[in-house]
């Protein structure tokens, strides 16, 4: 409890307060008048409104499309299930600019929808919503699936014996049990889409803008720190409101559930209904996730001299100019940073989740909310905050390579908390009691009862934290270490240059990023916690 608190205070609270404070404290006095100015601006209000409703719509659409996927990937046993689970997570690591460009190609002129249906979606808000589904499909599948796989199927059987059909049994028994994790997933999707940046920049054009984009502009381009600070505060207020709503939804619904070994709940798809569902989910995944990824992969082979590996070969050379190291070496950097960030996120998030399960109360609920704030904070704010806050003793990390994983863990830790909490809260307290009366100390109880139950969720959370860290760009770009660019940073640099070689290498490197991500997730999923199989 103390460690996570300290972590968030030092690496979130302090830097963000510093940058906001710098913005509002100008010319030797506090400029609270700016709050009124900015809020009074109808353009700002318009942005706020758009930010909120597109996030809500994106969240709803993502839930709608991904909940069946969560079921299929958690409960149905079919070949390639693990691979599919890893693949749907790949978008998560993709730099949004890269993915946005794939969507532009698919939804724009002569794109997939245009040639097939004669609709161009690149100028409509649908492009944004679909891209948001693409990015966040995995959030729902993994967060909800982690709990779903462990729910005792007998509950649904009980409902069916009372006359409920499949759907009714799901709606009335399974869904309420899943609700905390559905809410957690919804919260995360909402926060991501609320702070959406790259997607909006590319697909929204100058017409659609989010608070995040505005904050970025005001901070990084216009350098109007007071306005940025006010917008950051507005964003905080909105995020806190959402957190309160989430807390209110979840609080009364969390109950101990009978959790079972996930290995026992998966079954082969039986009956036409389940086969149709599987087919539908595969179709959605293919259209919304695989197709855009495929566009990028295809581009990475599409050299000026026909299809080939030229871009990949170029990744190995240093004289492309963009880097003092060969671009492929950024893979190693990214993996290293991501591994460290994942460990930090797991430790901090795991401890926080454990503390949140054991105790309750107002203060703790506040803490719970604090943990989620980084997801709702602009990456520039964090990046600039780090710059000005962590540059003097006692926290002089200017030259420390730790800055990057720390910033990344800031995004990873809330994931860990949100994914693990619903599962931990579902663990029947009497199981812990059973362990205690058999002689287990509280720490042993955690290790022997909670950990095995939550290990699946922890693996999922770790996967997320890892993917987030691999893909994190916004904050990393401001604190990138000399000559240690991470992979997404490298992609961005390549994209920033004209010419087929640069663009092709960016695509090739993005493809490498996807492959690295999928492979890491597969490895992570196959790691078993040692305590699970022990006598």
């Amino acid at each position: 409890m103390a460690l996570p608190l300290l972590f968030f205070a030092a690496f979130f609270g302090y830097p963000v307060a510093a940058i906001v404070g710098r913005g509002l404290h100008q010319g030797g006095r506090w400029q609270f008048g700016r709050v009124g100015d900015v809020l009074g601006d109808p353009a700002v209000r318009h942005v706020l409104w758009f930010t909120c409703w597109q996030a809500a719509a994106s969240t709803a659409l993502t839930l709608l499309l991904a909940l069946p996927g969560a079921y299929v990937l958690a409960r149905l046993d079919f070949p390639g299930r693990r691979l599919l689970r890893a693949v749907v997570t790949v978008p998560f690591v993709l730099p949004t600019v890269v993915a946005g460009s794939a969507f532009l190609a698919l939804l724009g002129r002569d794109g997939f929808t245009d040639s097939l249906l004669g609709v161009r979606l690149d100028t409509s808000v649908w492009a944004i919503l679909i891209a948001h589904v693409f990015f966040n499909y995995a959030v729902v599948v993994r967060t909800v699936g982690g709990l779903w796989a462990q729910l005792d199927p007998a509950q649904e059987e009980a409902a069916r014996m009372l006359g409920a059909g499949r759907l009714a049994a799901w709606r009335r028994v399974t869904l309420p049990a899943l609700l905390p994790s559905v809410a957690a997933a919804a919260l995360m999707v909402f926060l991501f889409t609320f702070t959406s940046f790259g997607v909006i920049q590319i697909l929204g054009g100058p017409t659609y803008s989010t608070l995040e984009v505005e904050i970025y502009r005001q901070t990084a381009e216009v350098f109007d720190l007071p306005t940025a600070a006010v917008l950051t505060l507005v964003q905080f207020a909105a995020v806190l409101a959402i957190l309160a709503l989430h807390g209110w939804t979840v609080r009364r619904r969390e109950s101990a559930l009978r959790l079972v070994d996930p290995a026992r709940t998966a079954h082969r798809p039986g009956g036409p209904g389940e086969r149709a569902l599987l087919g539908a989910v595969l179709a959605v995944v293919a259209l919304v996730v695989l197709l855009p990824l495929g566009v990028l992969v295809a581009r990475s082979f599409d050299t000026p001299n026909g299809y080939g590996l030229a871009f990949y070969r170029a990744l190995g050379s240093t004289d492309g100019g963009t880097f003092s190291v060969a671009p492929w070496q950024t893979v190693g950097n990214s993996l290293r940073f991501a591994a460290v960030a994942t460990v930090i996120a797991l430790v901090v998030g795991g401890l926080a989740a454990a503390a949140l399960v054991r105790r309750s109360g107002r203060l703790l609920r506040g803490f719970d909310a604090l943990l989620m704030l980084p997801l709702g904070t602009s990456a520039v704010t964090i990046g600039f905050g780090f710059l000005i806050a962590l540059d003097k003793p006692p926290l002089d990390l200017r030259d420390s390579w730790l800055l990057v994983p720390l910033a990344q863990a800031l995004v990873g830790a809330p994931f860990v908390v949100r994914v693990m909490l619903p599962v931990l809260r579902a663990v029947d307290d009497r199981l812990r009691e059973a362990a205690a009366v058999l002689g287990a100390s509280p720490w042993r109880v955690w290790r022997e009862v909670d950990l095995p139950m939550v290990s699946r969720a922890a693996a999922i959370a770790a996967g997320f934290a890892f993917a987030v860290s691999l893909g994190e760009f916004g904050a990393t770009v401001f604190i990138a270490r000399p000559d240690d660019p991470t992979l997404p940073v490298a992609v961005a640099r390549l994209l920033g240059r004209a010419g087929p070689m640069n663009y092709g290498q960016a695509m090739a490197l993005s493809t490498v990023l996807m492959a690295v991500c999928a492979a890491s997730l597969l490895v992570l999923e196959n790691l078993r916690t040692p305590s699970a199989g022990e006598l």
């Binding site: 005792d152 007998a154 509950q155 059987e157 009980a158 409902a159 069916r160 014996m161 009372l162 006359g163 409920a164 059909g165 499949r166 009714a168 049994a169 009335r172 028994v173 309420p176 049990a177 619904r253 109950s255 101990a256 559930l257």
Partner: protein, 355 residues
């Protein structure tokens, strides 16, 4: 039995290699109350799950009202099932649990509430609608589960140990009220229980299971009086069993010559003496003429254990020869441990089992 409401034909369920249900044939007539008895792990719950459609059969058929149920989903079978481990819905309160079935059957709200109140009254939890199920004691949970299973009034109701966690007086009251309720509604019932007294009190017919097969079916009295084999006999708690050769109206055993009821098949068999048929007389000849004692038909035994069971005392005897004997005595007539008693046998409690 063409009009059987439920019929199983060679119903088989396998878990891996082992058959938890092994080619079971069973017919339950409309309005019949059948109790399923059997040792732990003999396949009782599996039988109910197969009928409910929660576990597909690996072979054989389940017919309801003559219609094969293959492919019919559980909620379309018109059967109810109370689970052995209750499976109450933790997110719903007691009222929400009990009212779930009627709600699924689109019962109007008022009727539903009325029914919930009525059933909670029946199971001794009046006014418990608003309580959280996690805050109930074990027996209270069981009663809610029972009320929940009763609420939709299915044609065939299957109960898996419905009263197992309740105390005797509540159980006895419920057995009586449930029988009345089922009679009134015309419900057909298949109830698993491990309590013979409860089975006998509740059921028109008893089915005894053994390792996934049916060892015996019959009325309670039939099963009690004529266990089909040694397994059923021992399962019913009859442990005084020995080899015997029946000739005429007597059986020759290690315990001596025992009278047998008329009509007992002749020849070698296993012979069972029910505890009530082991008659003790205070103290026989101190030990002088063993031969004559045997001739008289009295067997000298030492009392090795006596267990007070409420109402009567179970006495374990070590006879001079042969395996141990169990006797049942009235409290005031019971000998003490270490006593020596003379035993005679009541032919009405001597049963020859198929060898």
């Amino acid at each position: 039995m063409g009009s059987a409401l439920l019929r199983l034909e060679a119903a088989t369920v396998r878990y891996g290699e082992r058959a938890a249900l092994d080619a079971v044939d069973l017919a339950v007539a409309e309005h019949e109350i059948v109790s399923v008895l059997g040792p732990s792990g003999s396949g009782k719950s599996t039988l109910l799950r197969a009928v409910a459609g929660l576990r597909p059969l690996d072979a054989g058929r389940v017919l309801l009202d003559g219609a094969d149920q293959r492919g019919v989903p559980p909620h379309r079978r018109g059967v109810g099932l109370m689970f052995q481990d209750h499976q109450l819905f933790p997110q719903r309160d007691v009222g929400g649990n009990v009212g779930f079935g009627p709600r699924m059957h689109k019962a109007p709200r008022e009727q539903r509430e009325h029914r919930v109140a009525e059933l909670l009254e029946l199971v001794g939890l009046p006014g418990a609608q608003g309580r959280a199920v996690a805050a109930l004691s074990g027996g209270e949970q069981q009663r809610v589960a029972l009320a929940r299973a009763l609420a939709p009034e299915p044609r065939l109701l299957m109960l898996d140990e419905p009263l197992g966690q309740l105390d005797r007086s509540l159980r006895e009251r419920l057995v009586v009220e449930l029988r009345q309720l089922f009679g009134r509604l015309g419900t057909t019932v298949l109830a698993v229980t491990h309590d013979q007294g409860e089975a006998f009190a509740l059921a028109d017919r008893v089915v005894v299971m053994r390792d996934g097969t049916i060892a015996q079916t019959g009325t309670p009295l039939e099963v009690w009086q004529h266990p089909a084999d040694e397994f059923v006999a021992r399962f019913l708690g009859f442990d005084s069993i020995t080899d015997a050769v029946v000739a005429g109206g007597a059986a020759t055993t290690e315990w001596g010559t025992l009278p047998v009821p008329p009509g007992t098949p002749q020849g070698p068999c296993r012979l069972l003496v029910r505890p009530t048929g082991v008659l003790l007389s205070a103290a026989p000849a101190p030990a002088p003429a063993p031969a004559s004692a045997a001739d008289e038909g009295a067997l000298r035994c030492e009392v090795v254990a006596r267990t007070f069971r409420g109402g009567h005392v179970a006495v374990t005897l070590r006879p001079e020869r042969g395996p141990r004997l169990e006797a049942e005595c009235a409290l005031r007539a019971a000998p003490r441990e270490g006593d020596t008693v003379a035993v005679t046998f009541d032919p009405q409690d001597v049963v020859a089992l198929p060898a």
